[in-house]
Assembly symmetry: C2
Homo-oligomer: 331 residues x 2
């Protein structure tokens, strides 16, 4: 397998990216990597990692896309950027997959324009895996499509199911519709119409509406929604969890010595919780519906997170999820 890596994407690039790739070469002996970016810079990082193998190639680029640029314009103009070159390696079949921790907007635009959509999929969807109380769950879509039609959500459900089956190893994942009431007739125009269609779909383990209060339980594995709602859910989840943990810390510090002793004793508890909610374990978010394996790694990925994204990309490839999504569309 050959993976194209956007060497300059993310807050910690190229250092964390290169480190993650080098670590991955140790675990996945049969994978070749093509890191795009300014050749000298990338090679310097490879030297720092003492990498002397032949599984990593550097593809030189001269331009960089930042988060402040208009994504579509940037992709169109800066053809010699690390992100465009990585995507082109997939388009030209020189690589089987691409990973970027760079600007989400630019990556999604690039995937759509350069790699292209699967025939029959109108709207590709960004689908991160999130840690839940009773297991991981997937949000499809999480921001790529802010205004959706019911038929888009039906695509999301099937693609999410295939991904969860193939990559997460659950043969019959529950598929739910994010909605503000449990009953079929609840919700807005979009969710009401989508509910009716989902009920009629074959091959989906559709369990009905899932209220946001129960999302983080993780009892429903594939959660379908429009990208505005999905992004809201994702960011409420991260924001609330982080705020609550900070409030607990502040309270401990302000309540005097007794609590400080308690905090020391509770250290392993908080370490376990942190691990449970560590997105770095889950890798990145697949962009489902484009005609290639395209993984968006978290912008703040460190080497460990990047390596997880590589593991996920390999599972995506090995489980032939892309073929299964295409087959599903033909039936």
């Amino acid at each position: 397998m050959k993976i194209a890596i956007d060497g300059m994407g993310g807050d910690n690039a190229p250092k964390a990216v290169v480190e993650g790739v080098v670590k991955a070469t140790e675990e996945f002996k049969d994978v070749e990597f093509f890191i795009t970016g300014p050749e000298e810079l990338i090679k310097e990082e490879l030297q720092k990692c003492n990498y002397g193998g032949d599984k990593i190639k550097v593809v030189n680029t001269t331009e960089v896309i930042t988060n402040n640029e208009h994504p579509v314009m940037a992709i169109r103009k800066k053809k010699d950027s690390s992100i465009c070159k990585a995507l082109n390696l997939v388009k030209d079949k020189e690589c089987d997959a691409v990973i970027s921790a760079g600007s989400t907007g630019a990556f999604l635009a690039g995937c759509t324009f350069i790699v292209g959509r699967i025939k029959g999929i109108k709207r590709p969807a960004l689908a991160p895996i999130m840690p839940g109380k009773n297991g991981p769950f997937m949000l499809v879509d999480c921001g790529a499509n802010v205004d959706c039609k019911p038929e888009h959500l039906i695509n999301f459900a099937h693609m999410g199911k295939e991904y969860y089956k193939g990559v997460m190893g659950n043969n019959n994942p529950k598929v739910g519709l994010i909605n503000i009431g449990a009953e079929a007739e609840k919700g807005n125009e979009l969710t009401k119409a989508t509910y009716e269609l989902l009920e009629q779909e074959n091959g989906l383990n559709f369990v009905g509406n899932v209220e946001p209060r129960y999302i983080s339980d993780g009892d429903t594995q594939v959660l379908v929604c429009d990208g505005f709602v999905g992004n809201t859910v994702l960011k409420m989840y991260e924001g609330t969890a982080s705020n609550l943990l900070n409030i607990i810390k502040d309270e401990i510090l302000s309540t005097g010595i007794k609590s400080k002793i308690g905090a020391v004793l509770l250290k392993p508890v908080f370490a376990n919780i942190k691990k449970k909610f560590d997105y770095k374990e889950y890798g990145g978010a697949p962009f489902l519906g484009v005609d290639g394996i395209c993984i968006k790694a978290h912008g703040s990925s460190n080497a460990k997170a990047f390596k997880s994204a590589i593991r996920q990309t390999k599972n995506f490839y090995d489980s032939k999820v892309l073929d299964k999504i295409k087959e599903g569309l033909e039936n």
Copy 2:
């Protein structure tokens, strides 16, 4: 001031409702209460509270609306229910305000059909006050209007501002638009169009888009959104916080004796946090845009929460927020 109370609304009715009202008579000497419900049942509860004053009147009813009924149908059919009679007391100007902890759907439908909308407000909005890290914030709308137009959200912003000014005592509350990006051009069709309109409005301290990640900080006091998004935010907030606290408890119990000692020492910390996030302190959610003071108390309200809702209702009345909303519409 005279307040109509739905004596049979909520999980703990009529006991918690009557207890809350009795407690309120001690604090608010100049308020009269009209509790609707089966006369014998309500009087029995009053006796249990040893109430012997003359500030509480019981208005007999013979029907009850449950959560399982279709709200609009129930309101139309069951005219002699506790909720309909309480609303009619406001409509007939016998009372200045109404509080119910009953079915949200039935209450909102009843407010709209019986009390009626303010002229110029197309969509009344449910607007709960939530605890944030740095202070309370208000979500307008939180579920009354699942499909909205930009002009509805403009109404929400003005009504929320007047309420926050009058009842929460902040002379210049920040007004934000819940959106999935900070920049003006981010979002879906609704938020993009709403942003443009909000920028042009006079008399609003509009601070731009607020990403869901930052909502629970509580730095923006009035947060405007459609009811689907608002309900999602509310329920993600409650669900994530409750799940996280449960996970912490489970981890403590499973990590052995050392952590259990730590947990005992940390007890006051968790008590403080619980207090900080206690919705019972904030009372209920005003239904803004109807031509009367209508407060939806939390379904699981205990006597304390109900008393808070009464305090809030009195503040709503004393601060003349309703008049200010109407004046704002004329300008």
